[in-house]
Symmetry: none
């Protein structure tokens, strides 16, 4: 651990003040035409506008200039963990993404289904991109065929198309290492590779992986298309300082999607139950209100601003922003000492994808200077007094505004 | 040494141009009410306003986002030394704070007076917080009782209440190490700890510390309250490249308080005598004028902008800013090639304390671009063309504007 987080960790103190961080997933946008308005600028947001007039605005770049963040690194940055420093392996991120909790000593592995021809030669590294239904069928067959190997419990999870995840549980057989070579040859026309351990604790993992490959091929041998597995990316559980350890914060997560719950639990947040439909805003506010007294930091995640952007549906994204705006008074009524609205990355409808553009951030606290902003938009944020910052600056700023940081040095 | 300082050091060259850096201690502020005006914005500053119209403005963050700087780290940052990298120990900082110069091989130690009960059990780690007068009396007794130990000169200095500083002088007995364990048990109900060396050069220091503790207890045994000493934080002299070495600058300090003189001498500045009352602005201008021909860099420190902020006295802070404004023409009459106004941290009257808020910075030189600023205020600075920067960016900018840096690369 280096950097600002380490410094903040040494200064953090427990107080009664409360911080509420709302992440509007993918909220930053783009105009559809040159000099047009973004989704945020187009949306009618009277409540956000009023709040902006009493807040400080700025822009955050979650990873670095020009870098488009995935949801994992984007959130890690918002939580104050430099995603270039605090690495989450591909296997662990996949596990987190489907809501599977990794424990110490477990190893998660990213798998691809493949098509093998005569003599185990890889013909297609993605098995012709099977449907999600076919994927689930194959996973079910493998679950029956490989419930355990040598007494080590084996869990197999469907992802989508050709992708699946395997978790080898440490159980009472001792911790498993994650330092071994890939099975995926990254090319066709050759056989799958044999996994080789790079250190002693990974020898058992290599044996498990190679046994899994063999038994999977036996189990799937009658399928002409999906009849092999390739592994790439092994991870054990990431070793992060928790929110409690880093910030002295008793933190709670209010989210609907497994990925965000998983990321929050990775940093030690308590994941609260949310009732109602998958992205029910009302259920989230109810959960927040119900647990308000119990925690001093809340991460409230709202997904649909991203999904609509990913769909390239400008009007729908505008609508989702307006739905959040309508909700805002109920959040402010709880009177958080520090209230923040931000995104984990931009998702412009124009791109139908995540993008590298900085995300507007708004911080409301009693200890802010006057800022000329009158709305929460990309354009106002670019002129905001908080300036253009790394995403990892956000948590220290929220902590400072909550008067939860001691002075550095005399 | 890493970072920008190392690069600048390789490019610095000696020229005739002169740089004047004025540090208005704790100058950054906050409005007392939402969207109100800060101390700087409230002050009537016709001279600063006129200067701002011909200068470049920006904001500096001395340590990092959300981090409230102490005076030591704040000034180190202004001087171009990253305070997270160039560490000054607690003992050295205390020595510096009371104006005691450490030499190579010396060790400075922070001490607390304590109340010991039967069997040397620590009853109060701060000896009931004695008055400063009582502190001075006890220090006088210790000075008589412990002028030296084993031929090593011992200096004892009063700080305030329960705090004092001991300096063990290397003398001709060889250099002393500063890597040893504390005497302070950090709790009551136990005996003081015995200092233990963590490396060979610190073995002699540990013996000196333990002997000091024993002799102090003997000397103070008849006092029921202040009858023991606890040590915590040992430091040798920090190893910084000097201003001459880093910047090829022949630098002078004009300050009234020991802390700032000490910090300046730590980086090799010549500390000039200032006549008149403790924070006499007139005496400072006289010293500056008298020595103007002799140096090519001047650090002029003004304290009262901080003290009034610490007192929570908004009106008084405004007044101190106006006093500086009245002085400004006399400084500008010296025609420095580069003139800079900045603070070492913010001290909002609203908080009655140092704060994390960025500090407005103004740079005036012949080589600045047009900037829209019309006043030196936090709000104008937030829109300034220099942007939001780390404090360690300032010295390279001043050096560049003084045409004292060679090109990097061909």
């Amino acid at each position: 651990m280096s950097d600002l987080l380490q410094t903040v960790r040494g200064l953090a103190k427990k107080t009664d003040s409360k911080i509420l961080m709302v992440v509007l997933d993918g909220v930053g946008g783009l105009p559809m035409t040159v000099n047009g308005e973004t989704e945020l600028a187009t949306a009618k947001t009277p409540n956000l506008d009023a709040l902006a007039r009493e807040s400080q605005l700025g822009q955050v770049e979650l990873i670095g200039a020009g870098i488009t963040p995935g949801s994992g690194p984007g959130h890690l940055s918002l939580f104050g963990y430099d995603p270039l420093h605090y690495l989450v392996g591909r296997g662990a991120l996949s596990a987190v993404g489907i809501g599977v909790k990794l424990n110490k000593g477990d190893v998660a592995v990213r798998g691809n289904f493949a098509t093998l021809g005569a003599d185990r030669i890889v013909e297609d590294r993605r098995a012709g991109r099977p449907s999600d239904e076919k994927n689930a069928e194959v996973v079910a067959r493998l679950k029956t065929a490989i419930p355990e190997i040598d007494g080590v419990p084996v869990e197999i999870y469907t992802e989508s198309e050709h992708r699946f995840v395997v978790v080898f549980r440490a159980g009472n057989g001792g911790d498993l290492g994650a330092n071994l070579s890939d099975v995926d040859p990254q090319t066709t026309g050759v056989q799958p590779m044999t996994a080789t351990a790079h250190d002693a604790p990974s020898e058992k993992t290599a044996a498990l992986v190679n046994a899994f490959v063999q038994r999977a091929e036996e189990a799937l041998g009658d399928d002409p298309q999906v009849n092999g597995v390739l592994f790439r990316g092994y991870s054990d559980v990431p070793h992060f300082p928790s929110f409690e350890d880093a910030y002295q914060l008793n933190a709670a997560c209010i989210a609907s999607y497994p990925m965000y719950k998983g990321l929050a639990s990775l940093v030690g947040m308590e994941v609260l139950d949310v009732e109602g439909e998958e992205d029910a805003l009302d259920g989230k506010v109810q959960a927040l209100t119900r647990h308000w007294a119990e925690y001093d930091f809340f991460f409230l995640h709202i997904k649909k601003t991203d999904s609509t952007g990913e769909d390239g549906d400008f009007a729908a994204k505008v609508k989702k922003i307006e739905l959040f705006d309508a909700l805002l008074p109920r959040l402010l009524a709880l009177q958080p000492d520090v209230f923040c609205v931000v995104g984990d990355h931009s998702t412009p409808s124009k791109l139908s994808a995540h993008s590298w553009h900085p995300v507007p951030v708004l911080i409301h606290s009693e200890y802010g200077r006057k800022d000329a902003a009158v709305r929460y938009t990309e354009e106002e944020a670019a002129r905001g007094s908080l300036g253009l910052r790394r995403g990892t600056d956000l948590m220290p700023l929220l902590m400072a505004n909550a008067l939860k940081l001691n002075k550095y040095g005399a």
